[in-house]
Symmetry: C2
Subunit: 417 residues, 2 copies
């Protein structure tokens, strides 16, 4: 039953896509503007629906961090409205001619940017993802099928009804945005395996969700996996910069994917750097877990285990390792890192270049905090998340990353000899 | 046992990749040149190994088409040598700065082209794929793990030994090219699920192989799936061009993925076009299978069934359908096509543009044969195949399509506020 319903929603989205792919951008912008007005004028109904979800979640003893993500207050509704305004102001990447040339035989080849198709978005308790994901897909001429977390079910439902109303109001097919209105987890599996209609799946959530989607997917997945980010303090680091950057990477917002989880320090500066850093961490209530050498320098911290090097804490905890060389640092990062964001602090030209070239990650920094990995910061205007894929899109996924290309070839009767 | 061996080969390739990614192109070109010389000077040993495979295959009653693919004669060895020479002459795409800009806060962001990593190549009886795949990956600074068809086992083994010798001779890690020296089909499954070490899988072969890989893969797959290509003769077609193009698309090389499998004809030109086309097809021994209307015009051909519209014949068979409108043609293509190559023949501007924009395929043609879809023809110099993916690479996959990007960010102490 549910399987058929998911399939129907996906098929309708595919049908809608074949029309949407060639709708003028002005119509899409008009739809986004209508949606913005609906959200603005329906604040109270949105908050009422959200309150039902919030109270249910509290009764079910949802953790306070998750409760916070679930909540839609006026400030967050303002945020949704602003993000739609930004999208309207951006130029759609669709239609860009990436390359164009003429062959000897007179064939004109144009490599043109087109939308991907129907994108399945699977997410957890944040209801604002409903608006962000649907509007980013729409702006890039993609259809979407949304499957949000069960905690936000009532909020998602009212938001989707507004999206569908805005689509219809502007003469677009309401199936451009599909919504799986069932909280059974099997729906996630069905969506991830609807490869006849769905062209890509973007899961947004914790490791458990990502693993469940990957295990069940026959549709290609643009993974938004964990961020196990390192900062390496080189032997030629400026110690003041190193303290600022490492502090910022750990403390400014510890619960996000581009925060630092492991600090690597070159042995030649460990005695100078670590005691000062320890004081900063103590003031910020960060728990340190060190390798043997770190524990010799900072005698009252806990020992790190193998598990610590593999853990994304998303919390005020940091593992610290003293390394003998930049090579050891790079090897450690390539072994334990999640290919998200990695930083070196150094004043040495060759070490900076080596780190940039030899660390295998989507974003590699010299003398800056890993916290900058973000579509907004990078100038993309908007992002659906940070990809840890090695194919298609790596790092922040904005409008352009939601497109692919097709070759248009214009001839005058050419045949192959 | 085999699982561990496959894992070891993949892990060694991953280790080799972290070095190879930053090796100078001159060293890679030197390796390719050495390999070319080894192949040139070892023709006789290669042919002897191939003869063992060929005789085994004949004893096992392999079909003659497959026997032909398996055979390595001097002409085909020349082809391998030439393809290596072409690769040496091409510029590597690695290192290209795709975008570069400075943020308000002074961070310099460079989006730079880098190799993907370790690519698993799974293929069938053609032993020249061993050389093509390994050298294309190497030229783009990727490592590869090869798993060829069991029929070509002895030929593949000697070719891989030359590749490894050439790598060592030039100071590169011989594990840059891995080879699964076991013909148990489980090896395909193990390779497709070695996601810890393998970054992408490219399967090259028939529908059965592609399905087996897709079903077993946890590694992202760049599919080289079937080519169910259509040619649509519009009501405003030039009939002479239409006959030439349709004939070429069907007959010039019927066994390949960019050949035509279904012909669509607008009802207004069906009476004029089909009888002439029928004569051409009869001369070329092509069997036609028609829809009801086609069979009214061409009375001695067989009726097409639903299955025909879904079949990639790869043979001298063609299904033919008369359509009422360009919309019906586009709908038919979007429903039954494999998103590979699709063509319209028309002199009507708006119909040409509609077809280019509304057909969802990697290559869409106006007034030319679908047979042109090819990396060599498109000017890529070399290709590993034609992707039917909607993500990452679509259409011919050359060196550039074997790369991804990383962001290099250079700062001077920036932290996030």
């Amino acid at each position: 039953m549910l399987k058929e319903r998911v399939n129907d929603i996906c098929r309708s989205a595919k049908d809608a896509f074949l029309e949407l792919a060639n709708i003028d951008e002005s119509k899409i912008n008009a739809t986004l503007t209508t949606l913005k007005e609906y959200i603005e004028s329906s604040r109270e109904s949105i908050k009422r629906a959200n309150l039902i979800d919030f109270n249910n979640a509290r009764e079910n003893n949802l953790k306070s961090a998750l409760l916070d993500r679930l909540l839609l207050n006026d400030k967050r509704i303002d945020g949704m409205i602003e993000s739609i305004e930004v999208l309207v102001s951006l130029k759609s990447p669709v239609g860009e001619v990436i390359e164009g040339y003429r062959l000897e035989n007179g064939l004109n080849i144009e490599k043109t940017r087109v939308p991907i198709g129907v994108i399945g978005i699977i997410y957890e308790s944040r209801p604002n993802v409903t608006i962000d994901a649907a509007t980013l897909c729409l702006k890039s001429s993609n259809c979407s099928v949304l499957r949000g977390g069960k905690e936000a079910f009532n909020t998602n439902k009212i938001l989707v009804s507004m999206i569908k109303k805005a689509l219809k109001e502007n003469g677009l097919d309401e199936n451009c945005v599909g919504f799986i209105d069932d909280t059974d987890r099997k729906g996630v599996a069905y969506l991830s395996s609807a490869d006849r209609y769905i062209d890509a799946i973007i899961p947004r959530g914790g490791e458990g969700l990502i693993k469940f989607v990957s295990d069940n997917a026959t549709v290609p997945v643009i993974k938004h996996d964990k961020g196990l980010c390192h900062t390496y303090i080189d032997c030629d680091a400026d110690i003041k910069k190193a303290l600022d950057i490492a502090y910022n990477a750990k403390v400014q917002r510890p619960g996000v994917c581009n925060a630092m989880e492991t600090l690597l320090v070159h042995k030649d500066v460990a005695n100078q750097f670590l005691p000062k850093f320890y004081e900063l961490m103590k003031d910020a209530s960060v728990e340190l877990r060190g390798c043997e050498k770190t524990c010799e320098i900072l005698q009252d911290i806990e020992k790190a285990t193998e598990e610590d090097w593999e853990t994304e804490y998303l919390d005020l905890i940091l593992s610290v390792k003293v390394v003998d060389s930049i090579d050891e640092a790079i090897s450690h990062i390539n072994l334990y890192g999640s290919s998200h964001s990695e930083a070196i602090v150094t004043e040495n030209y060759q070490n900076a270049e080596d780190f940039l070239n030899r660390v295998d990650a989507s974003c590699v920094y010299v003398n800056a905090s890993t916290r900058f990995t973000d579509g907004g910061v990078f100038g993309m205007g908007a992002e659906i998340g940070i990809s840890t894929n090695k194919l298609h899109a790596r790092g922040p996924v904005g409008l352009k990353e939601l497109t692919i290309y097709k070759y248009k070839i214009r001839g005058n009767g050419q045949i192959r000899e």
